[in-house]
Amino acid sequence: MGKKILIVEDEKDIRDLYTEVLKDEGYEVDEAAEGESGLALCLSGKYDLLLLDIMLPKKDGLQILREISKKGILPKLIVVLLTNLGIDAIIKEGFALGATSYIIKTEMTPDQVVAEVKKVLTPKSPVAK
């Protein structure tokens, strides 16, 4: 059974690109093109990973992050920020709100995005008791 990934990204070309390579890796992928429907899907609680763009119509990425973190969904849902801003302050805020990692979109090829997704979805080795 593949892990479930939600991509919230307003640029269709980029959304399609990531969806294609991730589906090829055997992940189940859903998409949202703007913040509000993205948030609604997040709240369904059925995803393992959220690829979240920061600049989005209707509701931006940090707002979504704030709301899902309030609803207590975060420990189960891993969040990777998608950004092209490269502004340290925004990334820092994202981390403070519970994001695990971030991807600067222009700087990564699709295989590198897949590698990052695999990395964050690999459970950390349990601490020996």
Partner: protein, 401 residues
Amino acid sequence: MVNSPQELDPVDLLKKTEAELKEREFQLSSINQEVYKKNLELLKEKRRLETILYNMAEAVFVLDANRNFTLFNNTAQKLLGYSEEQVIGKNCDDVFFLYGEKGARILALELIKLASDASAFVKLDFILEARYGKRTANINVSQIQISYEERLEYVVLIKDVTEEKMIAKLKDELIGIVSHELRTPMTAVRGYLWMMGSGRGGELSEKNKSYLARAVRGTERMIALISDILNASSLEQGRLDLKIEALNLKDLILEEVDELRARAEQRGLSLEVAELAGLPSVYGDKRRIIEVLANFVGNSIKYTEAGSVKVFGQAQGGFVKVMVTDTGKGFSAEDKDKLFKKFGRLDNSLVTVAEASGTGLGLYISKMLVEKMSGQVGAESQGVGKGATFWFRLPIAGTWK
């Protein structure tokens, strides 16, 4: 025969005295005229200087040792909203408020202390609040003493930079937005070129593969350029947070050299590291030092056709100097000054930005980064074709407990 002393007739004597008196009178009146003329000239000169002082573009006022106003020019009156009569003799802390970068109030005494610490001259940006609200002000304070007996006075010069700052901020925001808008389509271009190259859409002919490789190179250069413009712009705006800590340069150099080794080997170059043991720690921002190292070593690899690239470091007068020496293209003496400039193309050194497929901003950014970390950069070459050494130095960290 003896000559008797000449005796003058009393009438003659009177005439002579009269003539002398006339002569004196004439002299006196011409001295008087001269004094009058000089006075007039002085007055004119004083008026001229006052007119210049009172109407210059900068606000100027003078404070005595108790920080009370003794002079207040027209521009100061416009900027602060008070007439000279209203403020003369008043303490300047009662007339306007100054705030530092973090919003803390700064009293005139502190401003003057800053001025005297900087020996004669200090130039700083403050928020200035007077009758007309808050303005961003660039302030200069200089101490003056007309003669030994007289006490020190302080000449304060204020330039209203509110508009300049606003324009700089807008420019900064604009560059940020434009860069972001450029990056979005570039992400798609790069992503789909990669998809094509991965063979997902079917096998490519050799010819198409080589076309594709060129498109990928161009795309990557474009992306690097956008990112460098963004970086250079934040550096210029002073909008870059540095995390300064004591760092061991040896580890950073070894790490970065390992990262770049494959690239050097691909070009058939040897990449060596030497003389790093026992280097003292320096103060700097880890991420930024790595950026500078990557830029220097990367350049050396790029501009060297055959031979080697060596990295070594040494402690030298309070600094650790890191040198990157190559056997590459080098540069001419005339081009030395252009190296660290923005888009500094080298006319006399065969190497052009386009040829090297760089952004033309790498060394410029490196220089700014190192200087932000209180260090320096430099470069030497024996001439075109004779290799080059690029170096940077950073201050040695103090002893930590």
